[in-house]
Symmetry: C2
Subunit: 413 residues, 2 copies
């Protein structure tokens, strides 16, 4: 079978993945928008802040009245009142006057700066001594300093973080237009598979991929739609894949690691409406037998059956596809944090393919080190032990102990 694979290099696969389109949009309450992806640019409906305010506890003044003031030659000002929080200013600051103001308070008319309370002392109830000169606008925020009315505050394709939620709140957005959360139908094939709540008989295994792949989808802000286990036969698989395609925005089949089933998966895909085969094998280890196709706009994916291989392929390639479907701009960036570490042992590699090797990170004094987690690629324990993946590029024969290497951390851990 191997000979029939037209293996594609990973860079080409990434490019193909970037060609998928985002799902459609919906409008949701702002409160629920954390982690969601904006569907259109948001602009400020008003200035933020929308009034001239103090950033310090102190006294609002006409700053020119403080020019030249020092400890030995303080300025003396008449106290003309006090600003209350959350109220419109009623007092006016005239020349030679000062008005007490709290942090966040609105500057009274006439004032153009705030003297910090540390540089003020009361001579009597009505007289303030100021020991330091301040510049115009000092210790204040002007209307629009955060965002000016009409400015783009957050661009389409942005995944919302806590601070982004803050801007939405500050500007009174009650609803936001976002991309829907893509739904990913997950199904496992294999006559040896039993559900997790069954005791596997001899030669049988529990369906691990349902949980690892579903968890990865959740971590990426998408919704797994669990289709269950399908026996290794053409017609049942075809029916389940069709159903999956109705129920979701993408279909992931894992399994088919035996020669016969690999054929089924592709043959079933070929019956789907408007199917186009995009990738039939990737020059990567693990993950060579991965299939990527589309039925209309929807990606249909065949992943390896080995749980560890399936999860590595999902981590390297499918995370990017999930963010592309989610509408994230430049979906390849920001999924994986890359850290530099000193490799502790040689990692050999065959040329002609890209290897993703599990590594564990450990601090040795000030130095971050990467220890390869060797072990058969079918073992899930190797992934449990690992913190990330070291990529061995196509045209190298491996990585050497002592080299500084890039480690791609697992997404969202």
């Amino acid at each position: 079978m191997e000979a029939f694979f037209k293996l594609k290099p990973p860079t080409e696969v990434f490019h193909i993945i970037d060609g998928f389109s985002a799902v459609d949009q919906e409008t949701i309450p702002m409160e629920d928008a954390l982690g969601r992806v904006l569907n259109s640019d948001l602009t400020a409906p008003e200035d933020l802040p929308d009034f001239f305010k103090s950033t310090m506890d102190g006294y609002a003044v006409q700053t020119r009245n403080t020019f030249g003031a020092t400890e030995s030659l303080p300025a003396l000002l008449e106290i003309a009142g006090e600003v209350s929080m959350g109220e419109a200013e009623k007092i006016k600051v005239g020349s030679g006057q000062a008005v007490k103001i709290p942090t966040g308070g609105m500057l009274p008319k006439g004032a153009d700066g705030v003297v910090m309370i540390e540089y003020c002392s009361l001579l009597d109830e009505k007289t303030l001594e100021i020991s330091r000169a301040i510049s115009p606008l000092e210790n204040t925020i002007q209307p629009g300093d955060d965002f000016r009315k009409g400015a783009v505050i957050l661009p389409a394709g942005k995944r919302l973080r806590p601070q982004d939620m803050g801007v939405l709140a500050g500007l009174g957005f009650l609803e936001v237009p976002v991309f829907r959360k893509p739904k990913v139908a997950i199904l496992s094939t294999g006559d040896e598979m039993v559900p997790v709540d069954q005791n596997p008989g001899p030669g049988q295994v529990r369906d691990i991929n349902r949980y690892t792949l579903g968890a990865l989808c959740r971590n990426m802000g998408t919704v797994p739609v669990q289709m269950g286990i399908c026996e290794d036969h053409f017609e049942p698989l075809r029916e389940m894949v069709e159903e999956a395609l109705q129920a979701a925005d993408a279909v992931w089949i894992s399994g088919g690691s035996s020669v016969g089933t690999r054929d089924f998966t592709l043959k079933v895909f070929e019956t789907l409406p408007g199917f186009e085969l995009l990738v039939h094998g990737i020059s990567v280890s693990p993950g060579k037998p991965t299939i990527i196709g589309r039925s209309g706009a929807k990606p249909v994916i065949g992943l390896p059956g080995h749980p560890a291989s399936a999860l590595v392929v999902a981590e390297v390639f499918m995370t990017r596809m999930l963010w592309t479907l989610s509408g994230v701009v430049d979906a390849g960036d920001g999924i994986h944090t890359v850290k530099q570490a000193i490799l502790k042992r040689n990692i050999p590699s065959s040329g002609g393919r890209e290897d993703y090797v599990r590594v564990k990170l450990e601090n040795e004094g000030e130095q971050l080190t990467a220890i390869p987690v060797f072990g058969k690629s079918g073992l899930i324990s190797t992934l449990v032990e690992a913190d990330g993946l070291a990529r061995i590029h196509m045209n190298t024969e491996g990585l050497y102990a002592g080299e500084e290497i890039d480690v791609m951390l697992f997404s969202n851990t």
Copy 2:
């Protein structure tokens, strides 16, 4: 007021935070356990895998029958049958025999290795030619290779990732003992505050902290309990804090940035049962006026009122507290990814305090650079622009352009 602060250095504050205890435990369905923290060590109830299996498509053999086999001098074996996926082996492999086996198939009795299909060719229906010698156990996984019965598979305090879910599934865990998700009561004080759905009048602002702090709690896997806005008066604040303490595992008050309210917050805390003041001011910027106390086991926290300052303090200190309450082992590690970058501009700093300066990361060719986002610390836009924080240690006068600095990325972005 400043003089009354006994400012604590950040390292001491981290140590104090580590002294809080995790919340209690609950048992939840395995399916819901992603991101949850294990409450006790889990051990393997059985071997994983629990049978001797092939990792390749090929032929199961007695490996000694292949010794010396080469392309020019292949070994000839009699084909004795085929292993079906998911079924117990019925066939026995005798000396001089081979049995076809798919990846994941159970090795028939007598066999101790698998020859990859690439090195096999059929001479006739009954005769297999093998062109390569294999070692005992080659291309197989033995029972317990992943985890041996009784071994610790995942330790208490571990936050579950997709691969960890895979191990739970593989071993048939239907339920797992985890720490409850801590609940954090969030309340904002300030007479200038209005809810997000109201138009602020002159001098008023919308309550931003509710959303930024709530989002941060969610990102850390905890549950915000929104108490709303409290006016700046002792008795209403006391009542709301008592209610918050009933409803949650921790209380965060933001606001009180004016001198008067700062007093209220601490005075209200002092009325709580078994209150102990742990931190009254941190030698850090932003975030100096932060208060950390405990009422019994529950942390009660006073955060700055400025949304940007409150979020920086929450990011630096409160994330660690949330993971400590969540039961994560070594909660300080792993929250923030630290990246090295070349600083593009000088950042001045006053000595005697630790500064957390917002920076934006940009690639310049191969080099990651950090650009300080200057702007008044009260502006939330500076955080929207930033990717993380550069820490300026206590006893330095700043960082210089061209230096390699550590950038603490925002959690979970």
